[in-house]
Symmetry: C2
Subunit: 660 residues, 2 copies
């Protein structure tokens, strides 16, 4: 089961029943059909014909999500812990490790949870986004009308030089360049428009430090009334968000978001890197990233009545793995010690080369990364948070499956990343779920009655607990003395603590209240997952401070980016020791700083240089190479921390509650 996923499809066929040649495989309910060599996995066969089967673990047979039902005996069945006897009896197999031996029909269950849009990524008032730059006087993209002298026998300069001459004379725009696709239509465009055209120009671009002169993106009959749009994308591992921006007003006209379609190939970056090693895996991941953005473009196009070629420039912020996959760069070495990316700054790219359905000549800027686990989403965050320009000692964090932290000021920055595991996103927890309808997201426990109350997303019947709900719950359990500092449930404090299948558990909602009639309970294993996650984040911040010799208490502002931050209660996060015990007013939630940074860089040419400077300036600290990290981590596994003196406000609260 641990053998490489990429070779499993090549197992030699066994048994006399295997026919020579190809074997037909049919999928229901889509009715897609394909013929494959015996030995092909069902997952690979499905991929071939575009049938989507979730395999979040990267087709390693570990997550059990790729269950499908096989009719007949055309496959070699294998036992797997995710296949209980009842499922086996019904004909279920795991698509990732079941190989085809003869003709077979496969029933594919509908994908789980995918119809929900990720929540919490649309900014409340996108039209009001602040832009700290001189975009009006130094625009990234300009649209101008230009009147070209018609040629004559006495003035027979070629079309392109003629247009350049007019741009220089009428607008002072010198040394304009163009690519072949535009030149291929130039002669006709100029003549059809009687030598009066509108042009869209990328005003400034560079190749690794060398500035390039302006570049033609588009020519149209007249600039009058023409829109000039841009797209800023946050390419997240789980969710992808796109802002549609009007270059003439700097406004975000609309936003759209969707799950990253790569989720079908693995839920986290590691399983996608594993998936990329399969035959054609990298190509598929790249295509899915592009398709995800293209789907958002379709949505924006529909809603806003625009033509996609009106989008003249694109900026993309993503973590290092996402950018590598988008560009088709081999992500393998991101995951192997010493964790080295291929690039920090992406080469010059046009949308047409990537397959993005905006104007094919639109430039695509990827925000630069610092290391394998401090990517363009973080440099983007440092820009949009204003951290890059502050004199205050600042911490910036972006917490999700991975936590990334940056410490510094405008003059210096150190950054690190830790794997927090899925607990903050409701994963790895028995009753955990994403922050979709029915997820318990806020919890309070009455200090007198010790009875809980909660609120769910969309006020639906409770179906599980999401990340912020779990933090709330653990904080409440702790201050009410139902949970001790080492994460053990105290049996006699509450009637809701009982013995569960994995040991003591706390029932947050009884079956009578819940969506599916079953109790929603959290046990010590679940709590342990959260403690390890919060310990990793806290330890990372502590190590950053220690590495440069500053005290945590000296941090003047603590900026939190990412969707996660928007829903977390700061005081409760401090109570569990996830965030350091700073005055609450030093904390600021910034929303989707990755998307905001992409938006800022889209509008502001200087900011594109600034973000490169940020990436250059930032020192990446590899925690696995730091010998103080393990000590910090171990100390942080307690509630709120082994050294309670680091959390005076929590100590006071505990005294107040009289707990412990």
């Amino acid at each position: 089961m641990s053998d490489g996923a990429s070779t499993r499809g090549l197992d030699p066929p066994e048994g006399a029943a295997v026919a020579a040649g190809l074997v037909p495989v049919r999928f229901e309910p889509s009715l897609a059909a394909v013929s494959v060599p015996p030995g092909t996995t069902l997952l690979d066969a499905a991929t071939t014909v575009g049938v989507e089967i979730d395999a979040p673990c990267g087709a390693q047979g570990r997550c059990g999500r790729c269950k499908v039902k096989v009719v007949g005996d055309g496959v070699r069945r294998r036992p797997n812990v995710h296949l209980p006897p009842a499922a086996v009896a019904e004909g279920y197999v795991l698509a990732c490790e079941t190989v085809v031996q003869g003709p077979v029909t496969v029933e594919v269950p509908p994908p789980r949870e995918r119809r929900h849009r990720p929540r919490g990524h649309a900014v409340a008032e996108p039209e009001e986004l602040p832009v700290h730059c001189d975009w009006r006087s130094n625009p990234a993209v300009r649209v101008v009308d230009v009147e070209v002298d018609p040629p004559s026998l006495a003035d027979n300069t070629n079309d392109f030089d003629r247009l350049r001459r007019a741009l220089a004379r009428q607008h002072g725009i010198e040394d304009v360049r163009a690519e072949l696709p535009l030149l291929r239509r130039l002669g006709k465009d100029l003549r059809m428009s009687s030598w009066k055209v509108g042009v869209a120009l990328e005003m400034r671009d560079w190749v690794y430090g060398t500035y390039l002169p302006p570049r033609l993106i588009r020519i149209y009959p007249s600039a009058f009334g023409q829109r000039s749009l841009g797209l800023a994308v946050d390419l997240g591992t789980t969710s992808v968000v796109a802002y549609l921006v009007d270059f003439t007003t700097a406004r975000v006209i609309d936003t759209a978001s969707a799950y990253n379609r790569q989720v079908a190939c693995g839920e986290d970056v590691i399983s996608r890197i594993v998936y990329a090693r399969r035959e054609g895996g990298l190509r598929r991941l790249q295509a899915l990233a592009v398709e995800t953005v293209n789907d958002l473009l379709d949505e924006l196009e529909r809603r806003n009545g625009l033509e996609l070629y009106e989008i003249h420039e694109v900026t993309i912020a993503g973590n290092t793995t996402m950018i590598h996959l988008l560009l088709g760069l081999d992500p393998r070495y991101l995951r192997e010690e010493p964790y080295i990316p291929t690039i920090g700054q992406a080469p010059k790219l046009l949308a047409g080369e990537l397959g993005l359905r905006v104007n094919a000549l639109a430039r695509v800027h990827a925000m630069p990364s610092v290391g394998s686990y401090v990517g363009g989403d973080i440099t983007s965050g440092v820009i949009s948070s204003g951290m890059y320009a502050t004199d205050k000692l600042t911490v910036f964090v972006d917490i999700g499956t991975n936590g990334e932290m940056v410490l510094g000021t405008r003059d210096w920055m150190v950054a690190c990343a830790c794997s927090a595991g899925p607990a903050f996103e409701g994963g790895g927890v028995r009753c955990g779920m994403r922050a979709t309808a029915g997820a318990i997201e806020d919890v309070w426990i009455d200090s007198q009655t010790l009875e809980p109350s909660y609120r769910t997303v969309d006020d639906a019947e409770p179906a599980g607990v999401c990340g912020s709900g779990l933090i709330d719950l653990v904080a409440e359990l702790f201050v009410t003395g139902i949970l001790d500092k080492s994460g053990r449930l105290v049996r006699d404090r509450s009637r809701r603590v009982r013995s569960g299948p994995r040991g003591p558990e706390y029932v947050l909602a009884w079956g009578s209240e819940s969506a599916d009639g079953r109790d929603i309970a959290v046990d010590e294993v679940d709590i342990d997952n959260l403690l390890r996650a919060k310990a990793a984040v806290y330890a990372g911040i502590a190590v950053l401070c220690r590495s440069v010799g500053v005290e945590l208490a000296d941090v003047e502002q603590f900026l939190i980016g990412g969707a996660f931050g928007e829903y977390v209660d700061i005081e409760k996060a401090i109570r569990i020791g996830l965030l350091p015990d700073l005055p609450v007013e030093r904390y600021r939630f910034l929303g989707n700083t990755s998307a905001l940074g992409a938006y800022t860089a889209l509008l502001c040419v200087n900011m594109r240089q600034d973000v490169l400077d940020v990436a250059e300036k930032m020192t990446y600290l590899e925690l696995s190479a730091d010998n103080t990290f393990m000590d910090e981590y171990t100390s942080a596994l307690f509630l709120p921390h082994t050294h309670i003196e680091r959390f005076p406000s929590v100590a006071a609260a505990l005294d107040g509650e009289g707990a412990r």
Copy 2:
């Protein structure tokens, strides 16, 4: 017959016999088959399935070359002057104007003359080519070994920046950039080679005047023993020549040449421009240009045991139409007054974008053009001839179907072009032929006996007269008094002057000597064609001189490029008034100056800037807009010229011969 070729395929089907839907067409002897809508021309149907049928006139029904034989009555037959009754009776039609109406079988005759390689393009000692530049100290492409520090947890810079750092430290090569295809393999390449690699770098490049830092072309395990090759191409309308160059020695390792495969779509630039307007015509012309070069690459690969990805850079010189077609630029406006090209300088291009089978990351430089009829072949010639660097008053000419002339010094240049017609290449002349085996290329007439002797290409039995042979013949006829100054044959001077179908003709070879047993004769119509061609060239040169106020006699050197020049007898060319009456020692034949210029620019980075300066400096004089040209042309229609005083050496010779 003059209706647009591009619409002919869309004629509505006529008659009740036309079946609904598609109609099968089969070609013999290839057995290729295709089903097309009724109304499709046979030529279009053939193109669809890759059956090559010559249509040198651009499918306008004018040349009669696309004759094919149709079995059955599945086509609509049309009369055409190129279809004598006997041919019609046998079933011949012109493929370009015959539309399919029902199922049909088509016999395609073998292509004419195509097996011959063009002659006269290989330079005698290519290994000895002079290069006037500092290619050793300032190479276009460098190959170096570099030892990259392996990464560690403490030194986790990304792969690309790591390689850049090593190149800067070990070789002083700063700010190196790279494209995506190379970056996609970089991680693996570095690790497989244990961090010691060889790299090929383009050392300097620019985008419209902005210099770019060095660019990685290729990475290999070690530079040791690796070849670094370049390709210089002369993309002629008729012939294409490629020089394979070793960047480490500057030597031309091998050359190859072939007919331009576009010849099947039209013999001259005008008919190709016409062809480009057909549906898919431009795409096909572009593909044929690329395929022609790829064929030469195959040949060079076979003969030299090289891998084509070892070719790291390409320069291409061609006339403006050829470069437009190669790049897929619409050539339409080159031909419509006022004759405006889309570009002078081509944008930055990689071989992979064009489909050339050299290293996909090799840069392709097209030599810049000045106007629609003064192209990169001429700027290339000005560079390779040294004209761009001389203080001497110089004329440079390149004569073929079109004649291009440049007058000037290093400080200024004027250029013009004239259509000479096909006479210099053996076309438009009844017994004319290309300079292939059996073509009469030298002629002498004994001043006593007035009997001619001649020499043929490859000393084969005479089959016709090529361009240089015709010039010789006319010069000899004129000085021996058999031809008068207005181009009329003098009936009683020679027994070889007789009445032919188009009037008086001169028999150069009797049927008893010739390859096909028929007399080889030249008549006044043929001679007239030559006189018009030579008048155009001479008048062009004269107008250039007049335009800048210099006398023809002041020209200090007269440089002749192109294959044509290599075989022309200067004295005889002066005698007919094709070339001005300068001392013979001022003339120099330079061979294929277009290919030589491409070769020079390939090796020498500075020369690439020089050729842009040349293109910039050169003033293009449009002869059709010059009101002195017609006068000059008319005066030059005589032998040698209306004003005999301009040709004192010819006047003296005539006196000596006692002629006239």
